[in-house]
């Protein structure tokens, strides 16, 4: 009951924020825009049929059309809209939740109750995730229904996004929590989290650049440790230690049967044909870096990082004098 009370309090706090409602509105608009996309016997139709894009592969009911829609959902809606814009908004909205909870005069009342500090910490952390969970449930169910009515099929695999989106957020939120406990300042924790996110992106980019290609293997396949340059070794450590935020939309795309991200972007999923050598190399790297590695490795290694960071944050919280 105590834990539920803490989570319920976080939900109330979320509902009190304008950003919570703004995100719901933006999600509705995004889902509405998504609903404009459809297919007929001649190809792609946009804006409910006002704009026609003839394409022999993308016809109503074709596997390519389904693959295309899966790509739109995975890489555009989830990967870009929720994966970047949404997570950024969620971080802004939640960064201050723990510091305000730990403010002088607020935390003492809670600590004066017969509840362990670990439970308080976990309850509050789950409360922050609940904010994102509610948004994810709304957005995914809405787009799930849009997919059904535009494509005529149920993309049950898409419902994984309800779990994957809070998971993606939690990879970063653990850092927000750690810095929040340490600094008791929402702005500082948000700034540090964004810097950390930048580091993750940097680590992934470095790994794509230095971990897969050398003079001997221009086509791109993962280099062994001994084959790597110094910077390649650094990129290997960064990439494997940090949570894999980029993987989330790829994992979802894989579940939904979408083309790989590069193939999707290059060919908009129409045929998956690869047109030049550089794109071919990127596609191979994509495959090696994300698709070829198991979901278990991607999520598991990210969760290990998250668990370590959260344990550290919890330890600080338990030991702290308020």
């Amino acid at each position: 009951m105590q834990m539920l009370a803490l989570i319920n309090d976080a939900i109330r706090e979320s509902r009190d924020k304008k950003l919570f409602w703004a995100m719901l509105v933006v999600s509705t608009i995004a889902a509405g825009a998504f609903a404009c996309i459809g297919f007929d016997e001649n190809g792609l139709s946009l804006a409910f049929g006002l704009v026609k894009v003839p394409d022999a592969n993308l016809t109503a009911g074709s596997p390519a059309a389904q693959q295309f829609m899966a790509g739109i959902v995975s890489y555009v809606l989830v990967g870009t809209y929720i994966g970047w814009i949404g997570v950024l908004a969620f971080l802004v909205a939640t960064a201050g939740m723990l510091p305000s909870f730990m403010a002088d005069g607020a935390i003492e009342v809670v600590l004066g109750k017969p509840i362990s500090r670990i439970r308080v910490f976990v309850g509050r952390y789950l409360g922050g995730l609940t904010f994102v969970g509610l948004q994810a449930i709304y957005f995914v169910l809405l787009t799930f229904l849009v997919l059904r009515f535009r494509m005529g099929v149920w993309f049950w695999e898409y419902l994984w996004a309800i779990v994957l989106l809070p998971l993606l957020f939690s990879y970063l939120y653990c850092v927000t929590v750690l810095v929040g406990v340490w600094s008791r300042n929402g702005l500082v924790s948000l700034t540090c989290t964004l810097l950390f996110w930048l580091c993750i992106a940097g680590g992934t980019t470095m790994e794509r650049t230095f971990g897969y290609t050398d003079e001997l293997r221009p086509q791109g396949s993962e280099l062994a440790w001994a084959e790597r340059s110094q910077i390649g070794k650094v990129s290997f450590v960064l990439y494997n230690v940090f949570p894999k935020t980029d993987d989330v939309s790829v994992l979802l795309g894989r579940e939904m049967g979408a083309a790989t991200p590069t193939a999707f972007v290059e060919g908009l999923g129409t045929s998956g044909e690869i047109r030049d050598e550089e794109t071919a190399r990127l596609a191979t790297v994509d495959h090696e870096l994300t698709t070829a590695k198991s979901s278990l490795y991607s999520i598991g290694s990210s969760l290990v990082f998250e668990a370590v960071v959260l344990s550290l944050a919890c330890w600080f919280f338990v030991r702290k004098d308020f």
Binding site: M1, Q2, L4, A5, L6, N8, D9, R12, E13, R15, D16, A103, D104, G105, A106, I107, E108, V109, V110, L111, G112, K113, P114, I115, S116, R319, D321, F322
Partner: protein
């Protein structure tokens, strides 16, 4: 290094603190070995200037701050025992409540954290708000409350679990005179029900009205401790009033420690023998004495004296 000794035997003290020390990082000694005992069913006041360590002591009792060293019990359980908090109500100084909750939601939330069963919460929350004169504000969001209303709400949340011990840090801060009177009555009602009240306050006159015993904390140590009666029983001075003007005896009376003020001669301190010498002189001079009035200390004067700004009260009841 934390040293908390497990003392689980039953005790008649509601609060029995022995050698509580707290050194913050940077070497700041907030508490330097505090010993305080609070009897069950009494109202106890903790006094002290800013920075004396009062709030740190209260926070240690409520487990918000970890002591550097401590022995003792709260409600018969070792200091730091969190389960016992179910029987303690706590109102921190300058508390902040979530503005998005209504008064009733807040009481329900904190009641849940205090393990109060749902049915009791539902009944007790409106009852407490009524008792504190806020019955009509239960469904209004807290952000619309005045400071005084927030303070009343704070008291209500501290009482949600019907605690055996209630710890209040500056409970009348922000309250108007009516609110202070209501709070006093509430605390006295708790006392009548056999509950223990531990108050940390700057408002000495408030404490003097309700407290059975007080401790004065100075520089992280208990400078004085005792009942209000014990602390204030000594006189600052005796005033001997004569039937005639004493201007002609000023020099003679000054020689034996008297200060003439018209028809009155004042004798500083608490030395009864000196007063008798003064009386003997006046009677020997054929002067009729109308009255001898000992002027007692107020708690405020005791407090000021303890801080070194007073006239020197004997430290018979000084704990350390």
């Amino acid at each position: 290094m934390v040293e908390v000794v497990d003392v689980t035997e039953m005790t008649n003290w509601a609060v029995d603190l022995i050698g509580v020390r707290k050194t913050y990082s940077g070497g700041i000694d907030a508490l330097r070995g505090v010993n305080i005992q609070v009897g069950r069913g009494e109202i106890f006041g903790l006094l002290g200037p800013n920075g004396a360590g009062k709030t740190t002591l209260v926070k240690i009792m409520m487990t918000a701050v970890r002591p550097s060293a401590a022995m003792g019990t709260v409600l018969g359980r070792p200091l730091g025992n969190r389960r016992k908090l179910a029987l303690i109500g706590y109102l921190p100084e300058a508390h902040r409540f979530p503005g998005y909750l209504t008064g009733l939601q807040l009481l329900d939330y904190y009641g849940t954290l205090a393990n109060v069963p749902r049915s009791i919460r539902k009944a007790r929350a409106p009852e407490l708000l009524d008792r504190l004169g806020m019955g009509e504000w239960g469904d209004v969001r807290i952000r619309k409350y005045s400071k005084g209303m927030l303070q009343r709400l704070g008291l209500a949340q501290a009482m949600m679990n019907d605690p055996d011990l209630i710890v209040l840090d500056e409970p009348t801060d922000g309250l108007d005179p009516m609110g202070r009177r209501d709070t006093r009555e509430l605390l006295l009602e708790y006392k009548r029900r056999g509950k223990t009240v531990f108050i940390n306050s700057h408002l000495l006159s408030e404490l003097e009205m309700v407290c059975d015993r007080v401790s004065i904390l100075v520089g992280g140590l208990v400078a004085r401790q005792g009942t209000i009666q014990e602390l204030t029983e000594h006189s600052i001075e005796y005033r001997i009033k004569a039937a005639e003007d004493l201007a002609g005896h000023t020099a003679a009376l000054a020689k034996i420690g008297g200060e003439v003020r018209g028809q009155t001669v004042a004798v500083s301190g608490h030395d009864a023998e000196q007063v008798n010498r003064m009386i003997d002189y006046l009677r020997g001079a054929g002067i009729l004495i109308e009255s001898v009035i000992p002027k007692r200390f107020s708690l405020e004067e005791v407090f000021v004296d303890t801080l070194g700004g007073g006239k020197g009260i004997p430290r018979k009841h000084q704990a350390e």
